[in-house]
Symmetry: C2
Subunit: 313 residues, 2 copies
């Protein structure tokens, strides 16, 4: 356990920091989650030095999973000795009764926190309505151990978390609303959160912003590409105050940009399938579509040219 | 049963036509569905002459309900003698396993059809991925009785149903994909569907398009405001080939436009609460917010000036 000291640190101050990975969810031919491959990948990520597993995020195709499937997968990870303190499951769905159920389940397990989308079906909803949503879940769960990381991802959810909403939540729930994943891709917004809410653990949703984020007070990053470049991203986190930081950042940004040229989730699954030598990993749940063979070859070819390997960076 | 002949017609040609209402869902003070009030309202709508109940739509706050809550409410309606042929429950959610479960449940009950949203979390998904989604549900349900009405509502779902997608679905599933609710608000798109897919039962998602729709071959409409003006809207459907059709359309359009000036669902609940004299009806689930008292008074005042009453139109 080379990174045990970080885990202790996480447990001490009771909030996450560092590199968190929204683990991909593999599927069997009948579309059921491939539990064994999921556990295997999560354990590999931990061994590569990631500080936390933000399972059931956008990258994990969580909204293509039922409530029962999420709970069963979380149970399985814990049964297989993944430390609960390292787990940050996504629990925000459209129906608040389901968000309550998922959040309660994660909190009962003692998870390090939950990453919570706002309800995302209705658009143009008010901050008052979103505050009521988070408030309802917090009150229903009614557990002082609960730690919520807000999930701001307007390009996908189409429901943004405004600065006013954050202000109200951290005022009313200072020990519960402790962080935010900012996948808005808008650096101006990120710096505003960092400035206005120094008490929050702020995680940009891409490692492109890792070094700049850390220099402005971010806690780390929660990034999809952490699935395939965990050690490289971790190195930037470890070296951010050293002279080689910009160079290391440049290297991980190059990999990210290569992958971003493709649909993100199928591209990541292509790389993981190649790494484990298991074509099962290529599979996504509809409405996503796996990369065509030609795209797969092209992506892997470009990565080879960059001398990239999942475990060698 | 004043409209028994319509029901027989529906059963004979096995698809819906006429005025379908996405029934509102009332909630108790603890936010559980108010089953009794729900049954009462659905029965009232049927007595007012609506041809079908599109329960669990956007207006019914379906995506704020859990899978179990939807199934229990459907069971209750049927236990209370609502004819299954008149029921068109919404069954499309983000997780296909849940869509399968809801669709199977409705089909087992013998419901007239299901209204199916595409999975709506991921944005910018391909027609191929959406086709695979519908296809997966149809194949998993595996029941020749299944009748799917596609639910096109891009302003809310942000995932449109393209003409190419419809073409592929009606080609591969001609007896199953039989209709569409078009809540896009784009008349150009509506006329394209009507022209390209005469075999489909097309329902504009607002009575503003009812008369024009019928004149171009639409099957009727599925409209939120049917909750509060069912008889008036039904009258346009019954008179569409008569000389007073435009005048009747003008009357229902005026009511619709008055209500559209407010957030739709809270406004409709305000009118229904006033009609039944039950303030419980005002309640919405977060992230929606009920109208402020001043807005309620203003809305009801305007409707009174128009001499509008729910049962008197």
């Amino acid at each position: 356990m080379p990174y045990r000291e970080d885990l202790v640190k996480i447990m001490n101050n009771n909030t996450f920091s560092g590199v968190l990975v929204p683990a991909l969810t593999p599927f069997l031919v009948d579309q059921r989650p491939n539990t064994e491959a999921f556990v295997h990948h999560c354990k590999w990520l931990v061994r590569q030095g990631v500080h936390g597993l933000a399972i059931f995020g956008t990258t994990g195709e969580a909204n293509s999973l039922s409530v029962e499937e999420r709970m069963a997968l979380l149970d399985t990870l814990i049964d297989n000795d993944i430390a609960v303190e390292q787990l940050l499951p996504g629990t925000g769905v459209c129906a608040l009764a389901d968000s309550v159920r998922l959040t309660q389940h994660a909190t009962n397990h003692g998870c390090g926190g939950v990453l919570m989308l706002p309800p995302f079906y209705y658009k143009g909803v008010s901050d008052e309505g979103l505050f009521a949503s988070y408030s309802h879940v917090i009150d229903q769960v009614g557990d002082a151990r609960l730690r919520i990381y807000l999930y701001h991802i307007p390009p996908v959810s189409q429901v943004a978390i405004s600065l006013k909403l954050i202000e109200r939540l951290v005022k009313d729930y200072p020990t519960i609303v402790v962080g935010i994943k900012d996948s808005g891709g808008d650096w101006q917004y990120t710096t505003e959160i960092l400035k206005q809410f120094p008490q929050l653990s702020v995680f940009p949703g891409s490692e492109l912003f890792l070094l700049d984020g850390l220099r402005h007070g971010a806690a780390g990053c929660i990034t999809a590409t952490g699935n395939i470049n965990p050690a490289g991203i971790r190195r930037v986190f470890d070296h951010w105050e050293e002279t080689d930081a910009d160079e290391l950042q440049e290297k991980i940004s190059q990999i990210r940009k290569t992958i971003q040229a493709y649909p993100m989730i199928p591209a990541l699954k292509t790389i993981v399938a190649d790494f484990y030598g298991e074509s099962d990993w290529l599979r996504v749940r509809p409405p996503l579509v796996q990369l065509a063979e030609e795209q797969q070859h092209q992506l892997m070819g470009t990565l080879r040219e960059l001398d990239f390997g999942m475990a060698s960076n």
